[in-house]
């Protein structure tokens, strides 16, 4: 069995599972944010439930609309805040305490190798970076999980992605995923999982593995996963003292398909409007002028990402025709970025910096786009209307490409600034 089959088999008490089989699995942790969570609160009350199956195993985060940009958003916060208080949930993260839900989940030690985790947000697939099976679900199912601690899953077929070769200085996980997206297509992994393997994946940091798995939903994936190793174990142990039992794919595990990628000599990659698989090497896009550059989100708003971007903009100024918006993925990342002087570096370069949140990534606030504007963003989606007006254009790229592009005002290969 592969690692996902093993996790689902253990969680459902089945000796062995095969793709297509439906299993009823025990959930190790469940997460909601305010957008999906107010519906969970409503449904929970409607069905007359009183208690969560295990209050320590649920996390509630306000992240999409923080601090509240409208009275309506504030009301949604209140509904969710009251719900968390009523249920006495220790894992509630209010404005200024948490940040983007997925980053909070890994930072607070709620994700462990071998776990089954569901979140009412599609980017819950991120936790595969730590060797967990994690996937996004809706509010109705989450209500049921809150009550029962279980959920049914169809065991997915897995696409194996073997990665070899050495990344260039400014090339990494984001570029690798965009390259994979070009190969697989935006719906090519629907109902399926993706397992990233090979020596190059082994060399990636925990942060980069989270980036890789975060985007698997963008090709329709049910889950992404990187098998845990010493880096994973060390990271998780630094976040929690709870025990865990990692699982690994058998050497003869079966896969629906194997995709081989050699990253040697690969340029930075950019997804062009309006699809994540509309991917081109950065050098082909150097004529594209930008109104805004956005660095942040559950994809690329971690400290590793901010460091890469800050190194490029340090001592320089953002191009006058472009706005740079920087949003750390969590309060913890924000504090680390302050300690390391990155916030000052961005501010001196002329960037707007905001408190940790989902911000403009989903078209909420803190940098949404006007009709006809063009943005290069380190986020995960460039759907029509995603970041604001449907007539805006969003390109997706790495923190290095974002930083270099902010300096020149057009899409730029960071290599050319060296």
């Amino acid at each position: 069995m592969n690692v996902i089959e093993k996790i689902l088999s253990r969680a459902s008490g089945e000796k062995e599972v095969v793709p297509g089989q439906i299993v009823d699995a025990k959930i190790d942790h469940a997460m909601i944010n305010e957008i999906t969570g107010y519906l969970v609160a409503r449904y929970f009350h409607e069905v007359g439930a009183k208690k969560v199956w295990d209050p320590k195993k649920v996390t509630v985060v306000l992240d999409h609309t923080i601090p509240a940009p409208t009275a309506e958003a504030a009301e949604v916060h209140r509904l969710v805040r009251d719900f968390a208080r009523e249920l006495n949930l220790p894992g509630f993260y209010d404005v200024g305490r948490g940040g983007v839900c997925h980053q909070v989940m890994v930072e607070k030690g709620n994700v462990k190798p071998g776990d089954v985790i569901v979140g009412a947000d599609s980017h819950t697939v991120t936790y595969g970076g730590l060797g967990a099976f994690s996937t996004g679900i809706g509010s109705t199912e989450m209500t049921s999980v809150f009550i029962t601690g279980k959920l049914w899953f169809k065991v997915p077929k897995i696409i194996r992605i073997d990665v070899t070769g050495k990344f260039g200085k400014y090339v990494g996980a984001k570029d690798l995923f965009l390259r994979v997206a070009r190969e697989i297509g935006f719906s090519g992994a629907t109902y399926m999982g993706l397992e990233f393997k090979g020596p190059t994946v082994k060399k990636l940091s925990v942060s980069s593995r989270l980036t890789l798995c975060n985007m698997t939903i963008e090709v329709g994936g049910k889950a992404g996963i990187v098998e845990p190793d010493e880096k994973t174990i060390e990271y998780v142990k630094s976040k929690t003292s709870e025990p865990f039992n990692p699982l690994y794919s058998d050497p003869d595990a079966e896969y629906a398909r194997t995709l081989k990628v050699d990253v040697t000599g690969m340029q930075s990659q950019v997804a062009c409007p309006n699809a994540v698989d509309n991917v081109k090497p950065v050098s082909e896009l150097s004529g594209v002028e930008l109104d805004q550059v956005y660095i942040g989100s559950c994809t690329n708003g971690r400290i590793e990402d901010l460091k890469i971007a800050a190194d490029i903009v340090r001592g320089k100024k953002v191009n006058p025709r472009t706005r740079l918006v920087v949003v750390p993925a969590s309060q913890e990342v924000f504090i680390d970025a302050m300690k390391e002087g990155l916030i000052q570096t961005f501010a001196e370069a002329g960037a707007a910096i905001a408190t940790a949140s989902c911000g403009a990534c989903y078209g909420g606030h803190l940098g949404v786009l006007a009709a006809g504007e063009t943005c290069l963003s380190t986020t995960n989606r460039n759907f029509i209307g995603r970041m604001g007006d449907p007539m805006a254009k969003v390109y997706l790229g790495s923190p290095a490409v974002a930083a270099a592009s902010a300096l020149t005002g057009r899409i730029t290969d960071p290599e050319t600034l060296r």
Binding site: T36, G119, S122, G138, T140, F186, Y362, F383, I384
Partner: protein, 165 residues
């Protein structure tokens, strides 16, 4: 059910079905007024009185927001027939009681405004303009029961009431 068809193409994602800016609206009827706002701001007017959405591949890709099927249901959409659905949307639609059928052959035959008769039990769709009948994969009984109860929560409530009696 008999309803007029409203037709769209491939990759209609959740940001098109209900853009992010509407996600703090907690009134379901109000959400319905903004359904498909990302592609057709007049959609809710057109779907009034009942509509069958006929769409291409990968319908509902993207976000886990249950507001997407909720908005469609409250915009009087009676059923969505797609060439294929994204996974989370498909589950969400069933859970809130919005019927979803997969059928690739219907799409090329349909024009906006065609009158379609859909029977969920058999998974058939008849286009009265062309006279053709299409067969989708019928929904399994347990899924039909969820839809006929008006969603998973209603079903849970009904089971609860029976138990209480």
């Amino acid at each position: 059910m008999n309803s007029k068809a409203l037709k769209f193409g491939d990759n209609i994602n959740t940001d098109i079905i209900i853009p992010g800016k509407y996600l703090t609206i907690t009134d379901e009827k109000e959400l319905g007024k903004h359904a498909m706002d990302g592609i057709d701001p007049k959609f809710a007017e057109k779907s009034r009185g009942g509509a069958v959405l006929v769409v291409g591949e990968n319908f509902g890709s993207g976000s886990s927001r249950e507001q997407a099927p909720i908005a469609l249901k409250n915009a009087d959409v009676k059923c969505v027939v797609a060439k294929s659905f994204a996974r989370i949307f498909y589950r969400n639609a069933i859970n809130i009681g919005l019927p979803v059928l997969e059928c690739s052959e219907l799409w090329p035959d349909v024009q906006d405004g065609d009158l379609l008769s859909v029977t969920l039990e058999e998974g058939t769709i008849k286009n009265s303009r062309s006279g053709k009948v299409f067969k989708a994969q019928p929904l399994p009984l347990f899924i039909l029961e969820i839809i006929q109860s008006g969603g998973l929560l209603n079903q849970l409530r009904q089971k609860q009431t029976k138990k209480d009696k």
